[in-house]
């Protein structure tokens, strides 16, 4: 299967006077429709890796190829729209906009893409919110929901544009094990149904074990790349 996302010889160095070498010559590629996890201890560089994968951060050296395009050649506007249409983010902290209600937050990536929200999108948003079990609170302001509810809203938001890739940074980190299992199943369903590529950073060994491929990062290098 074709690679949807590829990292070639990625180096990442933070700081100018005091340099912190976070990633060392990382080569990694992800096939379309695959279900991957990245594990590693805190400080191992996995979050940086995810930010580079998500085109939120630029590598110091090396190339990121997203959907066949070298992202370093894109203008910021093109990159923004590529990100909007191709990548859905689920962050460790929910990052909802407190000014908007749950359903409005879910619809935001779609409103960035299309000026108007279509009926299909609205139905999809309702379906997603039902799926994450928040139908009852869909019109609550984001800051009036519990942490778990907010995270589930964020997951629904990441899925609204039907992205080809979902990047998840500790998506189940704040959730109890039952909900974590539900979220995992939800992600698996999406993966099967829409052939969406998942890259999940997690501490949760149980979740990692269930993915098709486990990449372990240590000190900015790939320690292990295990495919099932």
């Amino acid at each position: 299967m074709a690679n949807i996302l590829e990292l070639q010889h990625i180096d990442k160095i933070y700081g100018t006077s005091i340099k912190t070498h976070v990633l060392h010559d990382v080569n990694l590629s992800f096939e379309e429709g695959s279900f991957n996890s990245i594990i590693g201890q805190s400080g191992s560089g996995k979050s940086t890796l995810l930010n580079i994968l998500g085109t939120l951060d630029k590598p110091t050296n090396g190339k990121v190829v997203l959907n066949g395009k070298d992202v370093s050649t894109l203008k910021s506007k093109e990159l923004a729209s590529l990100r909007n249409e191709t990548i859905g983010f689920i962050f460790q902290f929910h990052y909802l906009l407190p000014e908007f209600t749950a359903i409005q937050n879910i619809l935001l990536p779609n409103r960035i893409k299309n000026a108007k929200v279509s009926k299909e999108t609205m139905d999809r948003a309702l379906e997603l919110i039902d799926f994450v079990g928040l139908s009852a609170v869909k019109d609550n302001p984001a800051n009036k929901m519990s942490g778990g509810q907010q995270q589930r809203t964020a997951i629904a938001r990441a899925l609204i544009n039907n992205p080809r890739i979902i990047l998840a940074d500790e998506p189940t980190g704040n959730l109890d094990s039952d909900t974590a299992e539900q979220i995992y199943k939800l992600m698996r369903d999406i993966n099967k149904k829409y052939n969406t590529t998942f890259i999940i950073i997690t501490h949760d060994q149980q979740i990692a074990q269930k993915t098709d491929r486990i990449v372990e990062i240590k000190d900015g290098k790939i320690l292990l790349d295990l495919r099932k």
């Binding site: 998500g54 939120l56 506007k77 729209s81 249409e85 962050f91 906009l97 990536p109 960035i112 893409k113």
Partner: protein, 383 residues
């Protein structure tokens, strides 16, 4: 665009207190601008009205002081048809002594046509009696009447320097608000002067008012070629230079005040909007991660500025006009007229309102540029 607008709107309604504060800031600035602008305008208008409202703006007289001249019909007709002019009237004046049994005073006998009397608004300036209808009736300034110790319907004698005399009846006493005039003017029909001074059908002047008082000098200059070379055209501006420079100085100081009010409005809005970028940096970061582009992110702040400017402007216009209404209601002369009559100049009010919008827009450029530099990763890394 629509998304940026709705996010801007949401940001503003989310922090209501802050939004109301900024709007009030804009509104107060604009209301001060309107209040001061219109107040000074009203002050100047009433000053001009008081100074030259009841006097001719342009006068055509002989080059040799006090000499009489024939008024050509063609010239007079063209003046009355000139639509820049209002109230064109002929006058025949001469210096006389006013004599009663016990008193004598030197005076200026002014022979007016009806139009000339309108220029001076003489009929409304009458304290007592009526206008002089015939050539043997006169009205006196109130100072002169007191000095001569005459009452209505008494007869006085007018004597020229040459010794010619005529007896006239006092039918009215006027007050033109200027004591030099009140103390020396005797007003009658022009025929009286023409007969007393043997002028025949000659006059000593043509007086007129213009619609736009500040154009008096250019209108006067344009009339110059059409009058005889032994006549001269005099306008009020040439005679009131110190008043004009006073008004000018006042205008400049008003502009300065308005300028500084505007600067403080702009600084106020931009500093508050700059803070909102910091407040909303998390949200902007998330939106950018979700794929909002830089110009959309900037537009959010531009729209915030626009909304604040429009609402603040409307509020400011309301406040300013309200302040003026209050001022005209409470600041009154003893006779009940407004101390300073205010004209609600719609153009000026609209201008001040749009200044609010434009300055708010300008002020939002800084935070808009700032938001462009904001990278989503900073927000995500700092949690």
């Amino acid at each position: 665009m629509k998304l940026s607008f709705s996010i801007a709107k949401r940001f503003l309604t989310y922090s209501k207190g802050q939004t109301i504060l900024i709007m009030l800031g804009i509104a107060i600035g604009i209301s001060v601008q309107i209040f001061i602008g219109l107040l000074i305008q009203g002050l100047q208008d009433s000053l001009i009205q008081r100074t030259i409202g009841q006097s001719p703006h342009i006068t055509i007289v002989s080059e040799s002081k006090g000499a009489s001249f024939q008024i050509e019909d063609a010239l007079f007709t063209s003046l009355t048809k000139d639509d820049r002019l209002i109230h064109v009237g002929k006058t025949a004046d001469g210096a006389v002594f006013a004599l009663t049994a016990n008193e004598d005073e030197s005076a200026l006998l002014r022979g007016f046509s009806d139009e000339t009397a309108t220029i001076y608004d003489l009929e409304n300036s009458l304290l007592d009696g009526r206008m002089a209808d015939t050539a043997n009736e006169v009205i006196l300034g109130k100072g002169l009447a007191t000095n001569l110790n005459v009452d209505l319907n008494e007869t006085i004698t007018l004597q020229t320097i040459l010794g010619d005399t005529v007896d006239v009846k006092v039918v009215g006493i006027f007050d033109l608000g200027v004591s030099a005039v009140n103390d020396s003017w005797i007003v009658s029909q022009s025929e009286l002067t023409q007969e007393l001074f043997n002028l025949g059908d000659a006059f000593t002047g043509i007086e007129m008012q213009v619609k736009d008082v500040f154009a008096a000098d250019t209108i006067a200059a344009s009339l110059e070629p059409s009058v005889d070379s032994d006549l001269k055209v005099v306008n009020w501006k040439a005679q009131n230079e110190s008043l004009l420079s006073g008004l000018n100085g006042q205008s400049i100081s008003t502009y300065m005040i308005q300028l500084f009010v505007l600067i403080s409005v702009i600084l106020g809005i931009s500093s508050v909007l700059a803070i909102t970028v910091l407040q909303k940096s998390r949200q902007i970061g998330i939106l950018k991660a979700m794929g909002i582009n830089d110009s959309q992110a900037s537009l959010i702040f531009i729209f915030q500025g626009l909304i604040l400017g429009i609402l603040g402007g409307i509020l400011g216009v309301g406040l300013g006009v309200g302040l003026l209404a209050m001022f005209t209601t409470f600041a009154k002369n003893p006779d009940g007229t407004a101390l300073i009559p205010i004209t609600y100049d719609a153009t000026f009010i609209a201008f001040s309102g749009s200044v609010a919008v434009i300055s708010a827009l300008l002020a939002s450029v800084i935070p808009a540029r700032k938001s462009k530099k904001l990278s989503p990763i900073e927000v995500i890394r700092n949690g």
